[in-house]
Symmetry: D2
Subunit: 403 residues, 4 copies
């Protein structure tokens, strides 16, 4: 198996930095594979890319050196700072693989953090796509890579309204050619470039502009595996584990109220109501789908700078049992978002690389358990989604080694 | 299908009273079937006894009228008291079916609540068993019952040490004949009488003396279905729903600390360290079995009278992910124990009656999801246990109606 | 001492109903004086009106019978319904004292619950004031009352912008004469009528239109004691108890995030952003005033119908100590709003009656501990506010009995 | 003012290490004075010893280098490790001031952590006291100190039963001479030595053997200020802040249940039931004293190693209001014990030095707010205790500078 690379959208963010630092620290034995699903016994015997051999690169709209990003991440996640000098040389090598990204039609909150300010309106959409493809090509050549997985970890964009140009490949390509700025967002361009370059694509964000129907079709046509949306790392993960309990016990959920506070860049961008809307959509869609009815429900996200990367979520679940009696379950989740997401990103890269090697195309539905709003999947109970993944792993093992 | 009866051990307790009052209220349309698992769509098409037609009776070591018990239960569960007069006449009819129970070798805490004081040492074990069988026979005749399900809802006994007499039917019967008082407890005698009477038996308590190996063998020989131990209604239910999440995400549980406070009779008896030991055993055994390793773990139960039947449980789960980072999940469960248990008891009676009708004998392993420490079952993940139950229901449906 | 009456604005709401039902139940020995501050030993020896002898009346914009309101309140607060029949006759006697209220310029959310729909625009402000005064006069005569305390328990109005007409008595009276609808709200008219009738006035709501500066001045001139704003019953009460701890320990509060969920009429009206604004203002103003600096802070209020009158509040307090270390305190408050407010309303009525008898006029600053945003008081620590009240009680005792 | 030293009992523990590291870091501007009560504006104008100029030393029964202790502390409190090298040289200088301590009659849990094993029974009590005095004298001379404050931060000892020898100075001194081993514990000997050396003494632990009545009398006779017991840093601090709220609102506390989990050495020693008893006594005594009645109450402490120095406490408070309605308040405290305690130890040392300079002797009752069970003080409400301290500071300021 030849070398694999991961190319991040949002390469200077906490999650991408956690993935890079984690993989580099693994090489020195300074970070274990805890939190990686593909390290479960169910996956043993399956040939998967070694995370220690991954190459890393990507785009960002902020100009931060890899070292600086790593320092920020270590501080915000309260990691032991003595690890940092030990991986510093390897981090420096990643530097040349980081390119300037685009923030096309991403809304004010994202433009605000773009530094230097973006001038995406000055060049055509087609030109932007060409530029992004070139970045991928150079990453491939510079690092002699066989496969590149593009992973979207950028800040959440505002929701993109449905348009006819999203419905077919032809219409979509015409929209790009005609430079219809308002019908796409940055994430659309990244996905398009990745597919054209034959790179499996993972949308770890809730941005709906990333995996437009037309792009999923194109991925199918071009033999490129893709999947999303929105990594399931915290509150929604707990939700999807608890919902089956209420279902199996025939206890009616009356209300499910969720309050999230967090202080990282993700939180800052989500403090803008436009961007928050995307997030709340994927978070809140789970309940009626998984329960089969719609209890009262709300999801709040608040930006609390002092928490930095430590997300704290309080959920109040009101339910009704025998004799119409109301009872409650509350939970408080305190986790570091990037620490939880990073091993899943490594999993998704490994499994995407496997899919590509096995000749799969279009939606990787077996990856549903990784996402809050899994594209093309109606199953929302965590254990059922996990069953889909384990069955896939079993099948892949039985169908033999792929080269 | 002919009429079915439920005969409770602990007939004046909150749970038995909740079952009786609930079923009687159902007849008047005053209580819905919320919380009953057998009302899930998965069970439709299966011929099950109608809870509204159940007859009720049982034993208790306290002398409380059914009406008085119902009043206590309604108050403690904060139920609307206007329902009570509407079912009062039906409750009165249950009265003659309540018999004086035994508290043989049950320890001080249970003897303390026995009123009038028990004189179980004055009569032989054999005589006690004969007396208990006679109570069942009279219940059957008085109410013209086809089937009787015996359900143990009595206060938790102290653990009974393993003895050779527990290991085979012959040894066990000799122990009874020889009146070896210290080798059995009250629950042993109840189970023995039930099996001899051909009555399916459910141990909803953690008392290990109820389903001794010899008794499970005897049940097998006599064609009697039995199952236990310890109804899974609250904290442990949530535990068994959350554990898969940590497993599936490969997150190591470091510590799982549970604190339970409750104020009902169950809590009062559990405030005795001897009796508490039984409870903590079934509660605490789950974790290493379900996880496959043993995190630091403790389970505390405290008697807090002001809470009455409202159990409150706080759990603190410390877990470790990527980069050795420690994170936490806490939950607070606030539920009425009897309200949660009652519909499950109705489910277990229905499913036991079905098993009996289908000619099954010995452990009903498919009922694992109802118990904290399911006898003879190694599966501890809630959704897998539920799968066993659903598969059983499917098979039963396919094998046709039984008469 | 002659008889005292309480005249409520919002007489059919949960709190007013709790006050009425509680006082009537006290007469029969069915409700104790728990939660009444004026029953503390510090107040013994002080001649205060007997809550059991209070007459009750008031205005409402909904047409609900007193009995119906009481039934709703008993259900929502899970009170034992057997009390209700025992006070029903006394409740019926309150009926004739309930008058139709006004909802002048109160915003859509309040107009929405007005039934039948209000036609307040059809009559002049002066005419409305005359009508309200007549209601008070008739209540006084019908019940032969010496003193009447008017207590505002109506739904929260949207904030009223500051106007020149709010700044002096003359300007204000001109505004009423000239019928400047947009410069007042219903609560303004109620307060004005109360003061003109010489009735002490308590604003238990956050509506800022109730105690405009001009009205406080008028109260001073006319010898009428008044006080507000916004009864301190739950989350803010806990806040004001905890803040001194952080101050005394020199621990810096970094963030204080509060999430409130509730399901009563108050919650429903507060689900309108306009009205919520008033509430959040009084709730959120405490922190910087009490701490002396402004930590990050937010207060959310969500309407969750299944909770009915049971308010649940989660607060997350992030603070920093030695070595810049961040630590946290969380609290969860679960209380019935009306049950908490009702005894305080009785206290406020007793203390207002005492003030009137003692010849005090204008703001009753010694009542600060009862309010979230005490008018004219800069002290925000609960124990200091309590000290003000106790000192007042001491002085009143020493100055002898008043007739 | 000449130089002051702090001599710790338990010098290698987390708290002593936090005090030492904190004061040394302050000298370099690496640690602020957050959490120090004596830095509040109320104390400005008072001449207090400068924490940056303190000398440090003490006893320990474990042989750990100061550097090693500091490393353990930094790790357990998740402090930024880059600070450590910057204060390493200063830490090394403390080394020679650390002496071998005694564990006389301290119980198995403490003997277990003594390394090398203690041989305290081989030498007489008098000889031990002489040895301890010599340690203090050498510390004084080596560092040219004017004042030395002895602070007990050792692991909690089991409670010492009351004896006649504890009741008077003469009896006590005879007990030492006669070498009555079972009538004292290690903490008794340390206190005795400190008083004989004229050193103010602070018992920051719950060990009741430290401040026996005879020793308090002796301190009075010898002109030595002393105070204890048990630093109030976490759960009990919150308790003493919340209790006034229930008192002031006349809300009856029905139950107050506390669960503490922690993973440091303190937790390990407290996992021994004998030692835990001391702690629970000081923790649990507060409630009836502060409330004036005894609600149901329990305090649990569990050793959970994964938490290290991060204490987590859950408290459930059940209370009753109007109409006998039960409501609840829960809080969750997550704090680093040593981080919270260290600045208070600096405060106590400063205030003890001031008392000594002012010629005070015996109990420093004005320090009540620092302790869970303040010796000789009946006031248990935090704000009242704080008032005592502020009044003392005011008096001290007015009485002028002391030399």
């Amino acid at each position: 198996m030849n070398r694999t690379g991961i190319f991040f959208i949002g390469a200077s963010g906490y999650i991408a930095t956690a993935v890079i630092a984690g993989a580099l620290a693994m090489r020195k034995g300074l970070c274990k594979r805890a939190g990686m699903v593909t390290e479960l016994p169910r996956f043993s015997g399956l040939t998967l890319a070694d995370p220690e051999s991954f190459a890393f690169g990507g785009w960002d709209i902020r100009q931060t050196s890899v070292i600086e990003s790593a320092r920020n991440f270590f501080r915000s996640s309260q990691l032991p700072s003595e690890i940092l000098p030990l991986i510093e040389a390897d981090l420096v090598e990643v530097g040349p693989n980081i390119c300037r990204g685009v923030s096309t039609n991403c809304g004010k909150a994202i433009e605000f953090i773009s530094s230097p300010p973006a001038h995406d309106r000055d060049i055509t959409l087609s030109a932007q796509v060409r530029m992004l493809r070139k970045d991928i090509q150079e990453f491939r050549e510079r690092n002699s890579l066989e496969s590149i997985i593009v992973v979207n970890l950028a800040s959440t964009e505002p929701p993109l309204e449905e348009r006819p140009s999203h419905a077919s490949v032809d219409e979509f390509e015409r929209c790009i050619e005609e430079d219809r700025y308002s019908e796409v967002r940055a994430s659309t361009l990244y996905t398009y470039a990745a597919i054209l370059e034959g790179c499996p694509y993972i949308n770890f964000t809730p941005s709906n502009a990333a995996l437009l129907p037309a792009l999923i079709m194109l991925a199918g046509e071009r033999g490129v595996p893709v999947m999303g949306n929105d990594g399931k790392t915290g509150e929604t993960l707990v939700k999807s584990a608890l919902i089956p309990m209420f279902l199996l016990r025939n206890l009616e959920v009356l209300s499910w109220e969720g309050f999230n506070i967090l202080g990282n860049m993700d939180g800052q961008v989500l403090s803008d109501p436009e961007n928050k809307e995307s997030k709340i959509k994927t978070k809140d869609s789970l309940l009626p789908k998984a329960l089969g009815y719609s209890p009262h429900s709300s999801v709040h996200i608040d930006y609390v700078p002092s928490l930095d990367d430590q997300k704290t979520a309080w959920n109040f679940i009101h339910f009704r049992g025998f004799f119409e009696t109301k009872m409650s379950l509350q939970f408080i989740w305190q986790g570091y978002d990037s620490i939880l997401a990073a091993p899943l990103v490594l999993d998704l890269a490994r499994l995407s690389e496997l899919s590509k090697r096995r000749g799969e195309a279009g939606l990787m539905r077996h990856l549903a358990s990784f996402f809050k709003a899994p594209a093309g999947v109606e199953e929302h109970l965590l254990h059922e989604q996990a069953g889909m993944l384990f069955k896939y792993a079993q099948d892949a093992k039985q169908s033999g080694v792929h080269t």
